[in-house]
Subunit: 516 residues, 2 copies
């Protein structure tokens, strides 16, 4: 493809993306396709000769779009948001157009330095302690990762190596034995990626019980630490969550932090979703105790308008990362000591995209003010939805949640809410997913899209409310009472293992829930 063709094709795609975004409210948020739909639509082999871009784009609307779940639709209320903004998209274009791989300073000085600068901008916007900033004199700093999963794993692996080194100095245990005795802790509310990090890093990851607010408390952590030490194990790593996936709960850092310090445990904070809210000073009380953390991570690619992937990780002492990850080789040499880091030693992979560009674009074109406005509007809309729930006596708030999340259910047996969810999924007007709090089945409603306005909240409530009426009506009709549930649907235990959607178009299509 020559340059002129690219100009035409690229500008066509800009218009296509703008048109797509403008059409989001009109598109059904969930696709109406069966597994394998695309496998049957596309050829089995790559074309032998080049096709024209005009043939290609015809397939996008006809074949790809019918299979897209529209994460940026104002009717998307599932999972947590994935960020999408025009400045970030343009940042991606420039990043791809330059196409450098910033694994060392010389591999593109601007790539490393812009990342240092924008991570400091971001850290300051959040009010992080200055020990985390690249510009601070100490050994801390911020770096972009691909995902919160990677950030957690980076923390876990670094903690593993420094703990092994420390224990080796004061113990007669051999290294293999030490490694086999390491333990990590997180709450039973933490994201699946936290448990996965333990599995990937060969470290026992305990999922600790939480209090009535789904928050991990110091007392609980301390109890397990002491028991493990008694049993000859070695506490190594704690992941505290600010804004859990199920209910947006906040672990108690003020209690957890000093315990980690006392027991020489690396404290990692996973604020993947809620971290964005700290750009607003009024929410910073929720990160009280952050000064105790060894590492802090949140995803601008969730709720801060920078397209995936852009996960921000700050560490208090980056030497622990470089010591754990730096592989010395003939061909690897420091580019320059002291002032500029080699970020390849701060992450799992060697290669790195120029991700700082899209972050820079977003920070400059929204400004701090624009970001705060965006966060506050999301929370206000969620509160407006919460009021609908509270004012309708058929419904209840299933568990208190914060930020852009509302967890609700129909009063009574779980199967009512299960059936409601099934109807909503079958109709595909809005996309919500299930959750569970203690034994209660619930529906998570998240304000996700930056396009969401009050009309969309009204639309969602109308949809939910109407479908709920049908359920209550049909049960009334069958049994002559309000909340008795058909026997067929009562299978306790089933629910928590796998949530089966009851009224999908096709039997083969089972439930489809994963929460990031």
């Amino acid at each position: 493809m020559e340059s002129q063709d690219f100009r035409d094709f690229g500008k066509f795609m800009i218009d296509y993306v703008a048109d797509y975004n403008e059409s989001l409210r009109e598109r059904e948020v969930l696709p109406n396709v069966q597994p394998g739909y695309l496998l049957n639509l596309l050829p089995k082999q790559a074309p032998e000769v080049p096709e024209s871009w005009k043939d290609l784009v015809a397939d996008i609307e006809n074949k790809i779009m019918p299979g897209i779940t529209h994460w940026n639709s104002p009717h998307f209320h599932a999972y947590y948001p994935t960020a999408n903004s025009y400045p970030a998209i343009v940042g991606e274009i420039l990043s791809a157009g330059i196409g450098c791989i910033g694994f060392s300073w010389i591999a593109s000085p601007a790539c490393t330095e812009l990342e240092m600068i924008t991570m400091d901008w971001l850290g300051q916007l959040l009010g992080l302690p200055k020990e985390f900033l690249n510009s601070d004199r100490g050994p801390g700093g911020g770096v972009l990762q691909g995902s919160a999963s990677e950030a957690t794993l980076v923390g876990l692996l670094a903690s593993r190596e420094i703990t092994v080194s420390r224990i080796k100095e004061h113990s007669e245990l051999d290294e293999g034995t030490i490694r086999s005795k390491l333990v990590a802790y997180t709450s039973d509310q933490s994201n699946s990626s936290v448990e996965k990090s333990g599995r990937l890093g060969s470290m026992l990851m305990r999922l600790l019980p939480t209090d009535d607010n789904c928050s991990l408390r110091g007392e609980t952590l301390l109890k397990f630490i002491k028991k493990d030490i008694e049993d000859g194990l070695i506490p190594c790593f704690v992941v505290a969550t600010l804004g859990t996936t199920p209910t947006c709960a906040f672990d108690n850092l003020d209690e957890i932090g000093p315990i980690c310090k006392e027991y020489n445990i690396w404290l990692h904070i996973d604020a993947a979703y809620a971290g964005a809210a700290f750009v607003c000073p009024e929410y910073r009380y929720l990160m009280s105790g952050v000064q105790h953390a060894d590492s802090f991570n949140f995803n601008p690619h969730k709720w801060l308008l920078v397209n995936f992937d852009c996960s921000a990780l700050w560490v208090k002492d980056a030497r622990h990362l470089t010591e754990a990850f730096n592989v010395e080789r003939i061909y690897l040499a420091d580019n320059k000591k002291g002032t500029v880091p080699d970020f390849r030693h701060w992450q799992i992979p060697l290669g790195r995209r120029f991700r700082a560009l899209k972050l820079w674009f977003v920070l400059r074109l929204y400004g701090a003010e624009g970001l705060r406005t965006y966060i506050r509007r999301t929370i206000e809309l969620a509160n407006n939805f919460r009021k609908f729930i509270e004012e309708d006596e058929r419904f209840e708030i299933a568990v208190e949640s914060k930020m852009g999340l509302v967890c609700f259910r129909l009063k009574g047996e779980n199967t009512l809410t299960e059936k409601l969810l099934g109807k909503l999924m079958a109709r595909r007007k809005i996309y919500v997913i299930p959750g569970a709090y203690k034994d209660k089945f619930l529906i998570r409603f998240v304000v996700c899209s930056r396009y969401t306005i009050q009309d969309d909240i009204d639309f969602a409530w109308n949809e939910i409310s109407t479908q709920a009426s049908d359920i209550v009506k049909s049960i009334n009709h069958q049994n002559g009472e309000t909340i008795s549930i058909p026997k067929l649907l009562q299978k306790p235990g089933e629910m928590t293992k796998k949530i089966k959607i009851l009224e999908m178009d096709n039997d083969k299509q089972n439930s489809t829930f994963a929460i990031e």
Copy 2:
């Protein structure tokens, strides 16, 4: 930013990227900046109020571009290529514009299915055994990863878990002891990311010696495996490289494969760079034995025109990945059994970009024919460069290499070639990096850019040849003979630890070499 502003800004950026690509030959390939240059140019804090995109773009050319190493310049001959093509850039725009996170089928059916399809297209183009294809009836398949580093780590972690399970069944060793006894093997020529994967996965990674062609042979591997078993260790994982980073050497799969089979060892093939060449049937003899592999990886984002990140991994039995990585939770449920995989269980992170789009764009708009033409042209240009070296009696081929790489040096002492490299780096007309073969210091010359034409090869040769003349002349002048070397430059050992550039503009700027 509103939609209309995006249309303007986006189209401006399309033109900017096209103009940038058209200007690549005129830009100096290496930046002329000092560490910290950008830190001093940009504000210390994010702006409070939104800026206009026109202010932003002024900074791109004035502040960012002076700090870019132009990886797609036809004068870039360092590392290995990083892919960049117009179709891939437009694919990135669409991917960002849709902004879905394809961690399960329902999270965007097209995202999973297009990846299945394009990975099969690609696997067939390379001539991979059908067991690796998604469409095959068996448990194999292909998936996109972010980097070869991650692909290697995925293989290592999966091998670790299945080996631990197997040994536990037949042994009285406890799990911690088993884990501490696992061993992995690779050649001393493999990429640094292979050694890093061992460190990340807590597995001893032996770097085995290679033969005179830098190839790992079966005999060597077998010797180390037997010794380790004698010593009570447990061989677990082998990484064979097709196209090593230093010299583009090929390990001997026909010998290595059966040994891995006999000893129940997972064989992973890292063909990060050279794998792309297998789209041309005439190079497939170099992957003879590929049928023995458990996993095979190469980077379309290196030499197959798909922008970073796009690393293709095929496995023969994906169940080993899902068993190792699948974290069951209340909220995680299979979307549908059997026909469509949940790719989140095939990788480290949970989230996934819609990377298949750019791969699809490249495959359709280049066609198989276009890709083959591109690969063959690269190799032809490298051969033309090789001829220049061979025909000039001051130079020698330092070690035989294949594909787009030529490893050359000035005849005689290493310091001559070191000095030549120093001059080239100081002048910044072309970008090459050092290598070492046995005790010989060498310069790696890679045809990287898709814009490179014969004129650029001539240009590079002229630059190298001219600078070499200066060196030889000055030595002649000092000592009255051709290849004696100033004492000052003779520091054996120094070279292999860190290669210091001799004639940089600024003393503080030391060597800056990392090879992906």
